[in-house]
Symmetry: C2
Subunit: 203 residues, 2 copies
Amino acid sequence: MNIPEKVINRLTLYHYILEDCNNNEENISSTKIAELLNIDNSQVRKDIKYLNNTGKCRVGYNVQKLKSAIEKELGFKKERDAFIIGAGNLGSALAKFDSFKNYGLQVLAMFDNDPKKVGLSINNKEVFHISKLPDLIKRLNVNIAILTVPREYAKETANFLVKSGIKYIWNFTPCILDVPKNVKVWNENLIGSFLQFINKDEM
Amino acid sequence: MNIPEKVINRLTLYHYILEDCNNNEENISSTKIAELLNIDNSQVRKDIKYLNNTGKCRVGYNVQKLKSAIEKELGFKKERDAFIIGAGNLGSALAKFDSFKNYGLQVLAMFDNDPKKVGLSINNKEVFHISKLPDLIKRLNVNIAILTVPREYAKETANFLVKSGIKYIWNFTPCILDVPKNVKVWNENLIGSFLQFINKDEM
């Protein structure tokens, strides 16, 4: 089913809440979810209608069933392998972010051009020299790259990724990449995110 | 003016593109912007209509005027001070992210409870012990916290932030915070972001 982006985002937040539920909480109400996220109850119910087998009952939703329904619909179970490009602080933070694995994103290795970083192991992910990338893309059949290099290297690195066979770039740099149409870029726009926050609340 | 969140996000991306323009590029067309972001030309023109004094001309938009119009509308020039809570990899990456300053977000200091981190200076931002937070919030009149602690400490840290006087929490942890209504939380939902990406492209 084609679920709007905003709904996907909120369903993931509902999943965080369900993950936090203790084993003795069998059910959860849409009101409770709505309160925690400070959104409308009707919004929560509308979003959940995109799912099948949500465990809806008189007192809300069955926690386990709703969790499974979100996982199934958003494809958490389908494993996707990725490389992190750039082993600086951001790359390392993402390499250590174990939650990714629970949501189907498996980081296999990291790449950098800094000899001091090459050979390190960050959360069991080895840092390879960037020159090894084309070969490892082929051997491990990886087509997702998480780009965390400094802004000034973003474009040339993206070009190298494309030449090496990467098809999806999750771009954490504040730089717009100019790539061929068959390569998809998702801009993780932290500044845009912050500005949405402050403009929303008229801070 | 009340600009939809999605539009704010895209306007920031247009701003990145304009920042990248050389001094000798006087104008830019909506087609060029649309191509770089792989979106519709009509979408770009519609978004820009939210702005005043966009420098629209026969061949597109004047780069400098459009840039200024975005900055004015989204309030880049209004400085907002913030603290980063958690001096791990992610906190350090954000502390080093100098672009924030260009968009009005000024990180004044960092906080952690790890004695090995307290006293460090990361990109000229000193790391203080978390116990110093309430005092520094008052003295520096800061009400924004960027939360980057590990998931298991997210809730207790958020409670401490609220008690200390923080009013806005930019939450980078994969954990939903339960805070009073007068405190605003913006969940930087990286997993949701990734799932939007992959669901969009049916990877």
